[in-house]
């Protein structure tokens, strides 16, 4: 049953990607076109551009989330009384719907009325036009919002991870005279590696599929500055109504994410066994 639910759409997409079908355009009635859609991917400048934008978004956002998540996670682990409160506070951005997050920041970053725009203008950062209206500013803003929304996830994974690591190596190191920093750097972090790996894997595969915030905040603009892959595919499938090409793009993305997860998972396993 589960197989059917998962496999049917996949099989349908594969079939669609070798056809030319549009529910709107008269001469695209589902005729077989072989590899045409895949060949088109190779020459599609907009798609290539969207891959670059997505790559920048994923690498920068996930790196920042990891660093911030580890720092905050360790800080929370050291807390005694406030720990529960801090953990629940961290959950807040995560439980908001991505669409709501987008709308919230759309309001805050409005070039004329937004309170964050007012803060930026008072501090003389990000120019006078509102951050979302510059090519760089818009992408930076989207990355920061993603970090705000998702570093707590990494932090919570770290908090959970710290509970599970054995205390003996830490105690041994302290007795041998290692400083707190040395303990964290040389012992805690390596012990956290598997759980961090999984957190990064989760975040990366999620970030590759970023859509909601971009859709609400910039629509991929200004120009094509924030046109991430998923938004581009949405445009192909549901604005241009080229469902076949959309299916081909989707499958290529799916294959890429699958390969990436596999590689990351394998490197994780290898390190674990090496230890």
């Amino acid at each position: 049953m589960l197989g059917l639910v998962v496999l049917f759409p996949l099989a349908y997409s594969i079939k669609l990607s070798f056809q030319s079908y549009s529910p709107i355009i008269p001469n695209h009635t589902g005729q077989w076109v072989g590899m045409d859609n895949y060949q088109r991917i190779l020459h599609d400048g907009d798609f290539h551009h969207s891959l670059i934008v997505t790559a920048i978004f994923v690498v920068v956002a996930v790196s920042l989330e990891t660093v911030l998540g580890v720092v905050v996670g360790i800080a929370i682990d050291r807390l005694r009384r406030m720990r529960r409160f801090a953990t629940s506070a961290l959950l807040l951005p995560m439980i908001l719907t991505p669409l709501v997050v987008g709308l919230m920041f759309n309001f805050a970053l409005n070039a004329q009325f937004g309170y964050l725009t007012w803060v930026f203008n008072t501090l003389h950062v990000a120019g006078g036009d509102g951050v979302l209206n510059g090519s760089v500013g818009a992408l930076v803003a989207l990355i920061f919002i993603d970090v705000w929304e998702w570093f707590p996830f990494v932090a919570l994974m770290v908090v959970a991870g710290l509970q599970t690591i054995p205390k003996e190596p830490l105690e041994a190191a302290s007795i041998d005279g290692a400083s707190t920093r040395q303990v964290y750097w040389h012992i805690t972090l390596p012990l956290l590696r598997p759980i961090l790996g999984i957190a990064i894997l989760f975040r990366a595969t999620e970030a590759i599929r970023e859509f909601d915030k971009v859709f609400v905040l910039t629509g991929g603009g200004p120009g094509s500055a924030t046109a991430v892959n998923d938004l581009y595919q949405y445009r192909v499938s549901f604005l241009n109504w080229d469902l076949s090409y959309g299916a081909a793009l989707g499958l290529v993305t799916f294959a890429a994410v699958l390969a990436l997860s596999f590689l990351m998972y394998r490197s994780l396993r290898r390190k674990e066994t090496a230890r």
């Binding site: 070039a111 004329q112 090519s135 910039t218 604005l239």
Partner: protein, 472 residues
């Protein structure tokens, strides 16, 4: 109307007579005609008890229509479930319903640029007999002759068939701050600076000058009062969005450009490049953040008194005069879109929508009645009084509305000058390519020429196999 009514009542009487034989005593109708199937107001009750599913764009017109629904139910006994959705989402829901042939929606209000696509795929049904025939079952307050002819044709006629009736008569026009234009000191200052009198812009050069003139920082004076917020010369939609495309097409058309000439894409024509260069120049006087503005943001700018003029949608005029939301009630003037040289023919972008009946609907008779009711003088007048836009000549010439609504005369005037965008099936792809090109040029990522060159090659690809365009 009399001839049709007589026909209707004769027919209704015959039907009633026939029915009374088979189901005597079951009828619940009333009325002068003595017919059990037609009410006193002429509306057929033959489909009483039918549940009709209708979807419309989430705009003022649909919201107001929803409030009128009890009237339809009272007249026909048909209940309506009216769903509202924003533009993109409505089109997606419609296409999903069409392709699965579920017939979930009986009547769909669709943007007219999708008329060709839906008609060619036979998703919607031609309704010539009802629309251009006897309008069987419609009441006394409906008359097809009253629908503004050009608007009706643009929104609902594809090739030789009629598919529905206009559900929205939005048309673009120029909004300007009448109070500032009428100010004596401003007039003197303007004449001194530009050498001619300050008046609503007739040409694009004047429009630019006025934009520059009224572009003032916070704290400066305008119309004799100190500005609490900066005043901008214009407001412009520049987001990567269909709103940007539709606004730009006004600049293009009036400067001699178009998307197609002789049926072939002419996106990077000199006139189009000039139009985009001009618009880019205008944005110097636009509020911050115009590159993320659609019609929503430009409407808000105007309502808040942050811009002196704009090329925008006539169906937002109601919002300008809405005391609960607008700071410019009574201060706004409405006029034709400027042209290149004085005396040129004015052109205004039409944004009409049309009601249409799903080819898979099982309630098409009730659906027809719904369309006729929505276009009846009673409903249309109620629409107008509450800030919506009708599609009837009689409502636009209604004396009480003309005197109470400052934008009323201009709406009809602009509708007469209206021009349609290509209603071909490939429109959404064209619009998407144009939105990207315009947004890139307006935000300074590339030059107008190279942005339009890029769009030209994309649109040529998109249209391959369908050129030349012989009907739009």
């Amino acid at each position: 109307m009399t001839r049709r009514n007589r026909k209707t009542s004769i027919l209704a009487a015959v039907v009633a007579a026939a029915l009374s034989v088979t189901m005597a005593g079951c009828s619940s109708g009333s009325g002068d005609s003595g017919s059990s199937e037609t009410g006193a107001d002429g509306w057929s009750r033959a489909y009483e008890g039918t549940q009709l599913n209708v979807i419309g764009e989430a705009t003022a017109n649909t919201q107001i229509l929803e409030k009128q629904l009890p009237d339809f139910e009272k007249k026909t006994g048909i209940t309506v479930n009216l769903e509202q959705a924003p533009y993109d989402s409505l089109v997606q829901k419609a296409v999903l319903d069409f392709t699965t042939h579920k017939g979930n929606y009986d009547v769909l209000s669709i943007p007219y640029e999708y008329l060709g696509a839906f008609a060619e795929k036979k998703y919607i049904a031609p309704e010539n007999d009802f629309l251009k025939g006897d309008a069987k079952g419609a009441g006394d307050d409906f008359s097809a002759d009253d629908i503004i002819p050009a608007l009706w044709e643009a929104s609902s006629k594809w090739k030789d068939n009629w598919y529905g009736m206009p559900s929205n008569s939005a048309v673009m026009m120029m909004f300007y701050r009448k109070d500032l234009f009428d100010n004596a000191d401003e007039k003197v200052a303007f004449k001194k600076k530009y050498g001619y009198d300050l008046a609503p812009a007739k040409t694009w050069d004047q429009y630019r000058d006025i934009a520059e003139f009224f572009n003032r920082p916070k704290g400066a004076e305008a119309g004799g009062a100190k500005l609490k917020d900066a005043l901008h010369g214009v407001t412009v939609a520049g987001k990567r969005h269909v709103a940007t495309v539709l606004e730009w097409m006004n600049y293009s058309w009036t400067k001699g450009g178009d998307l197609f000439t002789d049926g072939k894409p002419a996106i990077n024509s000199q006139a189009n490049v000039d139009a985009l260069t001009y618009e880019k120049e205008l944005t110097k006087f636009a509020p911050k953040g115009f590159t993320s503005a659609t019609w929503d943001e430009t409407t808000a700018d105007l309502q808040q008194g942050l811009a002196a003029q704009a090329i925008t949608w006539g169906d937002t005029a109601g919002a300008m005069e809405d005391k609960s939301a607008s700071k410019v009630v009574g201060k706004m003037g409405y006029a034709d879109i400027p042209v290149e040289k004085e005396g040129d023919k004015p052109e205004a972008h039409l944004g009409s929508w049309t009601y249409s009946i799903n080819a898979d609907s099982k309630n098409e008779e009730a659906g027809r009645l719904f369309m006729a009711w929505a276009l009846s003088t009673t409903t249309q007048k109620a629409l107008a009084e509450q800030g919506g836009l009708p599609a009837l000549t009689s409502t636009f010439t209604d004396a009480s509305l003309v005197s109470s609504l400052p934008y009323w005369k201009q709406e009809l005037q602009s509708l007469k000058e209206a021009k349609s965008r290509p209603r071909i099936p490939q429109w959404s792809g064209i619009s998407d390519a144009m939105a990207l090109a315009l947004s890139r040029a307006l935000s300074g990522q590339t030059s107008p020429q190279s942005a339009l060159d890029d769009a030209q090659s994309k649109i040529e690809d998109l249209m391959s196999g369908s050129l030349p365009v012989t009907y739009q």
